[in-house]
Symmetry: C2
Subunit: 88 residues, 2 copies
């Protein structure tokens, strides 16, 4: 994306619904630190736990940083789910 | 993701803000058909134009199909922006 891009921002609210609150909390606890320690000046990510849902809010300046943030978030969640599946 | 996954669904509202309504409409018109003609039984995607914003709603059954949908949506938007930049 260059400076002439007519795209101003990309904002997203993602809700990931789990079977139950316990599962959501396990995954949330596993990934919350990754979100706090992954700074990116072109996008911000915010993670919250809401009962059996994990909510991810992403604000990005351009589509490239948005895609990077979404992919990173989903990869963490997928990895946590896979590890969790090995242990239950 | 296997059948034991505790993940029930991934839902997302994405708002892409453009400089002005005209730009948003150009990009919307360029990609709306792609969204209507890309069926995926594990996720649904919905595109709407709201003044200077394009809203994308994605409902997916799992994180893999969600990621595929997001990436596909963002790639279409990025491509349209790039082609648009060549012509203005």
């Amino acid at each position: 994306m260059n400076f002439d891009s007519p795209l101003e921002s990309v904002k997203s609210d993602i809700a990931i619904e789990f079977e139950n609150q316990k599962q959501a909390k396990i995954i949330y606890d596993a990934i919350v630190l990754e979100f706090e320690t992954a700074p990116d000046y072109r996008s911000s990510m915010n993670l919250t736990l809401d009962e059996s849902r994990i909510l991810i809010r992403i604000n990005a300046e351009d589509s490239t940083s948005f895609r990077a943030s979404v992919n990173s978030a989903i990869k963490w969640i997928k990895l946590s789910l896979e590890i969790n599946n090995l242990t239950i």
